[in-house]
Symmetry: C2
Subunit: 374 residues, 2 copies
């Protein structure tokens, strides 16, 4: 019986059904540095070259302090302990994945942000953020290259009876040749995030600046606005309706952008993409209005089936992506099916990342090279 | 002896040396509403029509929760108490002054932000903010008028060997008539704040949009960048040196702005103003470089003496302001002295405000009407 179990386990190991990789505990290397997402002058949280994160919180009279972040995407959390100096300290039990993570503290049962870090809008609130240096972080680094602008605009919206905010990225060349017109990508955030996410967490502007400087892409404009128009803040997605956002986007924002920026204001030069819920919005709106967009991108945001596409001649590109720890097979299979039906479909799988911003930074990097090239 | 004391007290009362006003306690009116600076969907903190603030914090196991904010500018704080539902609640002991206030929580000895509110960069950290509705809040309200843009730019800075961030407000007309050029106001934040303050806390863009829509001012550009260039973050002002910031502003930012925006790029069409430490910077730099700026504004940021001004013909305007709870007499006397020396000096005192953003919002409103009019 014992021998049989060993054989079964051995077969599972060989076929990859189980893995022994995780229990090999490496000693923690003491080369911790402040996270690049810290507030100015703040030492903690720190990260080391292995991807471990170390936290330090001042709360002398607290009974317990727990960080919501733990290794392996489990989000089991990291309880902090009282240190000699009376502060609360702790290090994650293992390395975190590369890139950006949202987190918060639970102090005596109450949820607070880490005073050491900058805040980022996610989960319908401003949360703490930490950055685990990625091996490929160069593509979104702030470099000495010409920089485009990220502009906050307030556009009139009669359907919601207010002035709504959007951010518009214009490439460095936009201010130079005043006659040149540009294609536009409408780029949506995920559930619980807002129009600040793609710049703050995603570094979309730096990704564009760097790729333009390297001659990897032709410059285009990116427009980012709030996609949870009918306020599904707390109740999850069950009350979500696409119509209010579709009206804001198609009838109000796009005409405003075309009137106030030097755009190529036609379907062949207009793309829509979004991450997670923003992908779902992208799918719904691009299918409802094939006359408006020609390039579609779903970033960890589902897939299209060939039968979804009524008029294939109108679709120049379908880009599907996700992290390798998400449903990579689904994305690949959907892409194959689209290709076989004659659609220009391309998939991208981000290695060793989940439903997080590192997946979407990399996806934007890949998508940008495919947009408006034909 | 007793009679003599009474007479002395009576004389002091009549001459205004002491006041009996404060002990008259009004009953709290139960018309509390969420502060306009709350995070989306958050009910607390709330404010009522009298200016009282009410806080509610979830921290079931905490021993004490104190809000740093109290009435009368004393900042004595407001301790919260355990409510029936296990949350911590409390109301300020009196009304807070009109406008925006920074604050934070002390939870079991640790400093955290209120999860209910948005964060604003002040005191060298992102702090909680609350808005007490002001009787004159209309001038910085978001209205259905044409809106200018607030653009984030990253400009090259060889002196600090990095790309530095600035925000640029361009008026609504900027995108319409592509030949028109505009004067520029360089507008600085205070100690511990950064280049986000004038938009986030100050609503500088909305103040401008509203005044332009009403025809109260001629449109101009505003440029806001980080003024604590040599990183005096934690050590207070004692290590502050103006030279690094002056180099960034004069030799790097201004040439970049003049090259990338349609400015009137000469001294008569360039103003500098700042609040608090930004006023000190404004004074030092305008006096050192009278060839660069013609209009000077110190907002709760000190005064100029007539002897400071070497060449009066180069100064088109000196604007000095503060809150009535600050050194209003000093500001008025300095203005009188400047006027008597033949300088176009104008003072403004914001009624019933202190060293806070309501003073500076109102000051910008007044200053904007005086800039570039001659």
């Amino acid at each position: 019986m014992k021998k049989r179990l060993l054989i079964v386990l051995s077969v599972m190991l060989i076929t990859g059904e189980i893995s022994l990789a995780q229990p090999v505990q490496q000693p923690t290397i003491e080369d911790f540095k402040p996270s690049t997402k810290n507030q100015p002058g703040q030492e903690y949280p720190m990260v080391n070259s292995q991807g471990y994160a170390r936290f330090r919180i001042i709360a002398p009279e607290a009974r317990s302090v727990v960080v919501s972040l733990g290794p392996g995407g489990t989000r089991g959390g990291t309880p902090l302990s009282k240190a000699d100096d009376g502060s609360w300290m702790g290090t994650t039990a293992g390395p975190l994945e590369e890139g950006f993570h949202y987190y918060h503290l639970t102090v005596d049962g109450g949820i607070f942000n880490d005073p050491g870090t900058l805040n980022f809008y996610g989960s319908t609130r401003w949360e703490s953020g930490i950055e685990i240096p990625a091996h490929d972080q160069d593509f979104y680094a702030l470099k000495d290259v010409p920089h485009g602008k990220v502009q906050q605009i307030l556009f009139p919206s009669t359907s919601t009876n207010t002035s709504r905010r959007a951010f518009v990225y214009t490439p460095p060349s936009y201010e130079k040749d005043k006659k040149k017109r540009y294609p536009v990508l409408y780029l949506q955030h995920g559930w619980g995030e807002d129009e600040t996410a793609w710049s703050n967490q995603g570094h979309a502007n730096l990704i564009m600046d760097n790729m333009i400087a390297e001659g990897k892409i032709k410059p285009f404009i990116i427009v980012m606005t709030y996609g949870m128009t009918n306020d599904v803040k707390m109740g999850g997605m069950k009350n979500f309706k696409i119509e209010p956002f579709q009206t804001v986007l198609i009838d109000e924002l796009i005409p405003y952008i075309d009137a106030n920026f030097r755009t190529l204001a036609d379907q062949p030069h207009r793309a829509m993409a979004g991450l997670s819920m923003g992908g779902m919005e992208t799918k719904t709106i691009t299918l409802a209005r094939p006359d408006v967009f020609s390039h579609y991108g779903l970033l960890s945001g589902g897939t299209y089936a060939p039968k979804d596409i009524k008029d294939k001649s109108k679709v120049k590109l379908i880009f599907l992506s996700c992290g390798s720890f998400e449903n990579a097979t689904g994305v690949k299979n959907a892409t194959t099916a689209l290709k076989e039906s004659g659609i220009n479909a391309i998939s991208y799988i981000s290695e060793n990342t989940r439903h997080e911003f590192q997946t979407w930074r990399r996806s934007l990097y890949e998508l940008a090279q495919l947009l408006f090239v034909k």
